[in-house]
């Protein structure tokens, strides 16, 4: 007996294969989203943990000007230090044959025995340097890949004005530079910034650092107080130009990676939650309607003697088939998307192994939730059918009691054609169903906006950073504090139109019990190439005395305009001042304090700058870059154009994948809702629509009624989708905010329109499938008993 029912289940499924496929795809996209985002998050986290463990990533870092080697012993004796390493680290310009754009290398010394204890190098290709051979280097893999270097190649570095030819013997990765940024720009640029490991002797010799070090990294003993260790280090290094020790959480690369993983966690929780809810919801709605359509069949089965249980089991089998079909597609899709996302991350996070891993528990969760939603939808409908006596259920459902809609009673009906009234009254008589349909489609729009808004936010940040904040073409940093007169020399370099000099001092700001290390910027009066702006892009003028603070810093310090706070300079003679807060800036990115350059120099009792911005004649860029490379005090050169290009390249692929995936999902959801709504309408009203055909209505005219219903649903869903989408974007951004970064909520009108266009198009395509069904309808059946 059950066998025959199984056959029916199979045939029923086959008979509605288009519906089965569209529902299965909705289920699949929910499961895909869950698996892809959660597993990507897990994979990143695993890769980070593994690399940090294997590479013995340090807990505390400190940079200083120069300390003799014996100071190391003193540092090692600090209570709570498990192991400590000192080294020489220095940035130097690189010469790459046939290239005008500058590149900077960060050179890190390798101890004489060739063994790095902390932040261990992971050799990817070639070998470690031989300390006996002074001209060997291991090159960071990211830089090598971006610039086409391989072991065996040569590169020239400008160390203290001296050209040094180096042989690349290997490519490596370090947990310290998973996210390889120099600190000069917030965006990684593998083409222009590379890490190099070089024998200590060679580096020390070139930099006149023999028997000395300028960088310390250490691992804490279990249970040690990081704060106390940092204080001890700062005390010891104060006399050696210590720039202030800091923990792993403030280490640039680690902070970027950890923030990204945290943000990924937000989207990994939020997006699958949305998806799975949407797909569960749709599944529930669609399944309950399908069963509603089968009511007379169910009654017949009951009349034949099948019990509720075996009928339920029958439908359970049908639903399981749909859910598991979707699950199979979803798991495959999830793994595929996850792999793709991991590959995108590999573009800016340099892990030795970022293997995508599927967590079976997540797959089981996804399938389970979908299945549950389907079962709840199905049993709701089944219960309604079971409550009826078989004889009653075999009769067609009681016809709906149509009435004129409210708007019609208000006299709006004169604007509606008769077929228009059919459309509106059918939507109005089932307000719950109509509402659910609208909500379903608006969810698709919402998901689309989640996928597309990144593009706007990133474009906005790009615009804010590079067109508003940073109006220069080329930025240079000096190796150390440099007299302002150096700006004249720069001003006379070929192609320079204007030049501005700035000063950045590492400082510790204090108030009451709170202290924080940050940067104090000095900007010249009337600066044009660099500005301080609030989040409304209003320019903030600097007071003649006192400092302006970013809002996040002012909040942490508890400082308001007019309040005084302490500033301890971490370089040179390390003066300490009391400074008045001259203003608070509500900005997007970064923590900073800024002062008028002259005021800052007065406090420092000198007249120096640390960096400069140039506005240049674009035609003479190459000439200028060549000239800049020959100026000995210049430690780094940043070309804005290249930075933008790199940013677009790395973020571009990320945004593309994200947008493509979510667009695909949203299209699936739109088709799922619209097609299934229209299909159910068609099944319920075949007889009515056929009657119209018999009366002489063309296929087109009949199609327009169903298409009209779909169009009304879609058009009502669009504004709702905008609201939901924008709300969700806000929520997601709010959850992703970190200490230093707040994302602007910026959604372009074109994004609203594009998202709407995709949904409308998907709806339209779904109705085209319906059209094919209408074309195949058998007219004669309309004259028989209504079903």
């Amino acid at each position: 007996m059950v066998r025959k029912l199984d056959l029916k289940a199979f045939r029923d499924l086959w008979g509605m294969k288009a519906q089965v496929v569209t529902i299965a795809l909705v289920v699949g996209s929910g499961i895909s989203a869950l698996i892809a985002s959660l597993s990507t998050h897990d994979s990143l986290k695993l890769a980070q943990d593994a690399f940090y463990r294997q590479g013995r990533f340090a807990d505390v870092f400190a940079e200083l000007k120069r300390a003799p080697l014996p100071v190391r012993e003193e540092l090692q004796r600090i209570d709570g230090v498990a192991s400590l390493e000192t080294r020489v680290v220095r940035d130097a310009l690189l010469e790459i044959p046939g290239r005008v754009e500058p590149a900077v290398g960060r050179f890190i010394s390798v101890p004489e025995d060739g063994r790095i204890e902390l932040n261990r190098l992971h050799i990817r290709e070639g070998r470690m340097v031989d300390p006996a051979r002074g001209d060997e280097v291991v090159m960071g893999e990211g830089f090598a890949r971006a610039n086409g270097f391989k072991p065996g190649d040569e590169i020239v570095a400008v160390l203290e004005g001296k050209y040094k030819k180096l042989h690349v013997v290997g490519l490596g990765l370090s947990p310290e530079y998973v996210y390889a940024i120099s600190g000069a720009t917030p965006i990684p640029n593998d083409r222009e910034f590379g890490i190099f490991w070089i024998p200590e002797d060679t580096l020390a010799h070139a930099l006149d650092m023999k028997g000395a070090f300028n960088s310390v990294t250490l691992k804490l003993a279990p249970g040690a107080s990081k704060k106390r260790v940092i204080e001890s280090i700062d005390r010891i290094l104060a006399t050696y130009g210590g720039l202030g020790a800091y923990g792993r959480e403030d280490q640039l690369s680690n902070r970027a990676v950890t923030d990204e993983i945290a943000q990924q966690k937000v989207s990994a929780t939020l997006i699958p939650f949305v998806f799975l809810s949407v797909s569960a919801y749709l599944l529930n709605v669609v399944i309950s309607r399908l069963i509603g359509l089968q009511r007379s069949q169910i009654a017949t089965l009951k009349a034949l003697g099948y019990g509720n249980w075996s009928i339920s089991l029958h439908y359970l089998k049908m639903i399981s088939s749909i859910v598991f079909l979707g699950a199979a597609a979803g798991i495959a899709g999830g793994v595929w998307i996850g792999t793709m996302l991991s590959r995108v991350y590999e573009g800016f996070f340099h892990f030795p192994a970022l293997d995508y891993r599927l967590n079976p528990l997540q797959a089981v969760t996804g399938v389970g939730v979908s299945f549950l939603a389907a079962v709840i939808g199905a049993f709701g409908s089944l219960r309604r059918v079971f409550r009826l006596a078989p004889a009653e259920a075999m009769r067609p459902p009681v016809p709906l009691m149509f009435h004129k809609t409210l708007s019609e009673r208000l006299g709006l009906s004169r604007f509606l054609s008769t077929t228009g009234r059919i459309v509106f009254r059918n939507l109005a008589i089932r307000p719950v169903r109509t509402g659910l349909g609208i909500v379903g489609i608006s969810f698709a729009l919402m998901i689309l906006m989640l996928g597309l808004f990144w593009r706007d936010s990133v474009a906005y940040i790009l615009y804010y950073q590079f067109s508003v904040l940073q109006r220069d073409d080329v930025g240079v940093s000096f190796i150390e504090d440099t007299s302002r007169s150096a700006l004249y020399e720069l001003g006379h370099a070929p192609g320079v139109l204007s030049v501005e000099g700035y000063r950045t001092l590492p400082v510790r700001v204090r108030r009451a019990n709170f202290s924080e290390q940050t940067a104090l910027f000095g900007l010249p009066e009337g600066a044009k190439l660099r500005q301080i702006l609030d989040r409304h892009m209003q320019r903030i003028g600097l007071p003649p005395e006192g400092a302006v603070l970013s809002k996040n810093l002012a909040d942490r310090l508890g400082v308001r305009p007019g309040d005084a706070f302490g500033v301890e300079v971490l370089t040179g003679k390390r003066p300490s001042w009391v400074v008045t807060c001259g203003g608070v800036v509500d900005n997007w990115v970064g923590t900073f304090a800024a002062m008028d350059l002259s005021a800052l120099n007065r406090l420092m009792n000198d007249d120096a700058v640390t960096s400069a911005s140039l506005k240049i004649d674009p035609d003479r860029k190459d000439e200028l870059l060549a000239a800049l490379r020959n100026m000995p005090r210049i430690g780094a050169i940043n070309v804005k154009e290249t930075a933008i290009r790199m940013f677009e390249k790395t973020m571009g692929s990320f945004i593309l994948v994200y947008a493509a995936v979510l667009t695909g999902f949203a299209a699936i959801i739109s088709v799922g809702v619209v097609y299934n709504s229209a299909r159910v309408s068609l099944s319920e009203r075949t007889w009515e629509l056929l009657s119209l055909r018999v009366l002489g209505f063309t296929r087109n005219e009949v199609f327009r009624i169903l298409a009209g219903e779909a169009a009304v649903l879609t058009l009502l869903a669009v504004p709702l989708g905008w609201v939901l989408g924008y709300g969700f974007v806000r929520l997601m951004i709010a959850l992703m905010e970190t200490k230093d970064m707040q994302m602007p909520i910026h959604v372009e009108p074109s994004t609203f329109l594009q998202a709407s266009a995709v949904v409308v198009l998907a709806s339209f395509l779904s109705t085209l499938i319906i059209r094919r069904i209408i074309n195949r309808m058998d007219l004669v059946s309309a004259l028989k008993v209504p079903e």
């Binding site: 016809p399 709906l400 009691m401 149509f402 009435h403 004129k404 054609s417 008769t418 077929t419 009234r421 059919i422 009254r425 059918n426 008589i429 007889w687 009515e688 009657s691 119209l692 055909r693 018999v694 009366l695 002489g696 209505f697 063309t698 296929r699 005219e701 007219l779 004669v780 309309a782 004259l783 028989k784 008993v785 209504p786």
Partner: protein
């Protein structure tokens, strides 16, 4: 009465293929129907009367033979031409009324006048079937007889040349059935619309000009009534 036939069928056959079985529904029909005639097609179920009506109404096409409506060759007509043909020339009345549930009585009639070339006033049509008081009611608020009369009003409102009625009283009780037949007779008499009714109710034959008896896919008898009865005079 004009003797040029409105409909002309010659050697009409229709065979349905159901899987591997061929079921002949019409086995060679020769029939002419004339302008203004009131014809009853009488026969038991399975006699082929519905198939014949469907072919005349452009809902189905014959397997072989000729069928013409005036100068239209219905056998050769494609789907679009048949839709236009139904739209312009034919009014249908069905056993189950086939009203649009979401439209009121008046709107059901207007629906058709909107697509007709020379329609009559929708209210006029409803008045003709005695429903001028029920214009704003939805089908679910009307009795079966009332619904069928709305269907008749809808069929005549577009000013069809032919009214084709498939068991118009099949779902109605005796009294209501008679009211519906009266409405049909009035339409035929007042508007001169050629009317074809198919039924298995032999009593209805009394109100026809001609009666076509069908059995097993063939015409078994063609009778002309010397005296047409009023629906009130019929009994079954």
């Amino acid at each position: 009465m004009d003797r040029t036939p409105v409909f002309s069928a010659k050697g009409l056959t229709k065979t349905y293929t159901m899987g591997e079985v061929e079921v002949p529904a019409l086995r060679g029909i020769d029939l002419d129907l004339y302008d203004g005639e009131f014809v009853v097609l009488l026969g038991p179920s399975g006699s082929g009367k519905s198939t014949l009506l469907n072919i005349l109404g452009g809902l189905d096409t014959p397997t072989s033979g000729e069928v013409r409506y005036r100068d239209h060759n219905l056998r050769e007509a494609g789907e679009e031409a048949l839709t236009r043909y139904r739209r312009e020339h034919i009014g249908f009345v069905f056993q189950f009324y086939n009203l649009i549930p979401s439209l009121t009585a008046l709107e059901n009639v207007v629906l058709v006048t909107e697509i007709a070339e020379k329609p009559m006033d929708a209210r006029e049509a409803l008045k003709l079937v005695g429903l001028e008081e029920r214009l704003g009611h939805f089908p679910s608020q009307l009795s079966g007889g009332e619904q069928q009369r709305v269907a008749i009003a809808r069929a005549i409102a577009k000013g069809p040349d032919v009214l084709l009625c498939d068991e118009p009283t099949g779902a109605l009780d005796y009294q209501t059935g008679k009211m519906v037949l009266e409405a049909l007779q009035r339409v035929n008499r007042d508007l001169g619309t050629t009317t074809v009714i198919i039924t298995h109710n032999a009593a209805i034959a009394g109100m026809a000009d001609r009666v076509v008896r069908l059995g097993d896919g063939r015409i078994t008898a063609l009778e002309t009534n010397a005296k047409k009865l009023k629906p009130g005079e019929l009994s079954w």
